[in-house]
Symmetry: C3
Subunit: 139 residues, 3 copies
């Protein structure tokens, strides 16, 4: 396997808009280089990918403070929203977004409850078997 092609495995745990933004930028950068990207949605990140909730305000990290939160909120307007970046990343590259089966159980939701950006539901074993090479980045 060409090193360039070693996949980027992104575990999204956090559901705040600043961390989701950082994740989307990373996914876009990797996809633009032709690197496969596997995203695994857990806990509060999965909650943020619910159908109809993607464009809601999900807050910022506590350390942002009120003025930092305003900056993040303003930056989400239009084409720079993380959901839009993930959409672009999927258009330009091999980017798959998987919902963690255990987190689905935690929230007691099904595939229909999720935004169309999410490709499927999978267990940690399936996610890990795609991540035998390359970084595993937890956000």
């Amino acid at each position: 396997m060409n090193e360039q092609e070693s996949p980027l495995s992104l575990i999204l745990f956090s559901g705040t808009d600043d961390r989701l933004g950082a994740a989307a930028i990373l996914a876009t950068g990797a996809a633009a280089m032709g690197r496969p990207v596997n995203v695994f949605l857990q806990y509060w990140a999965l909650d943020a990918f619910r159908r109809g909730k993607v464009n809601a305000w999900h807050g910022a990290a506590p350390e942002a403070g009120p003025s930092g939160a305003v900056l993040v909120r303003t930056s989400l307007a239009g084409p720079r929203h993380w959901s839009e970046l993930f959409r672009q990343a999927k258009d330009i590259g091999d980017v798959k977004i998987h919902a963690c089966a255990l987190s689905m159980e935690l929230f007691d939701i099904t595939h229909e409850d999720l935004d169309p950006l999410v490709d499927d539901i999978e267990g940690v074993a399936a996610f890990m078997s795609d991540a035998t090479t390359g970084p595993i980045t937890f956000i």
Copy 2:
């Protein structure tokens, strides 16, 4: 070295039960695939592995909100508690849990103060020398 065998290096920094749960799931998934796992406990994660404190409630990420915290707390009951998952991961695979020497100093504690799940105390140099290949995932 077979790629399959490239170790997973997990740095546990956060001490909330949701992040510890995500870490335990990842460790279990990797161990089930026969992949060595090295866990390095720092700061608040180390604090959560103190003897007698493992089963206490350590809270959830701020973004969980009160209802999310209840979900996490409920999910910890019985065999799904992260400490139980780490125990299973150690039973099925090559999983070592190391306490960061500097964080031990920060809390002014010794090996006796830690849960038996913790194998030993080591410095960052020792941890990094086991992580020359494979991902380094910070949780």
Copy 3:
């Protein structure tokens, strides 16, 4: 490429002093082993690297609680401050600190606004092209 030389790519997102401390320890450990380190400063971590703000108190993770925050604050005194550890890491090894161009835009700041520890400003594409091998660790 020798595996030993596979670079460590560190994305610093969080601006609290405990996470910055964990990042600095990791960078120092990798540099001491002769491993190249690329640090990418985003969001609140970039904010913490502003000129004249590095030695300010940036708080600790919410889970630290008041007593944990005091421990962190005390541990920052003198030669153990994370900025000092990054300085040492740069002295002993091949450690580069890059400011994320998009986060610079978010805060509307220029290179002059940053601490001299920061080498340059780069986009995510440049950062990712240095990270085609090795771990990508998000802190």
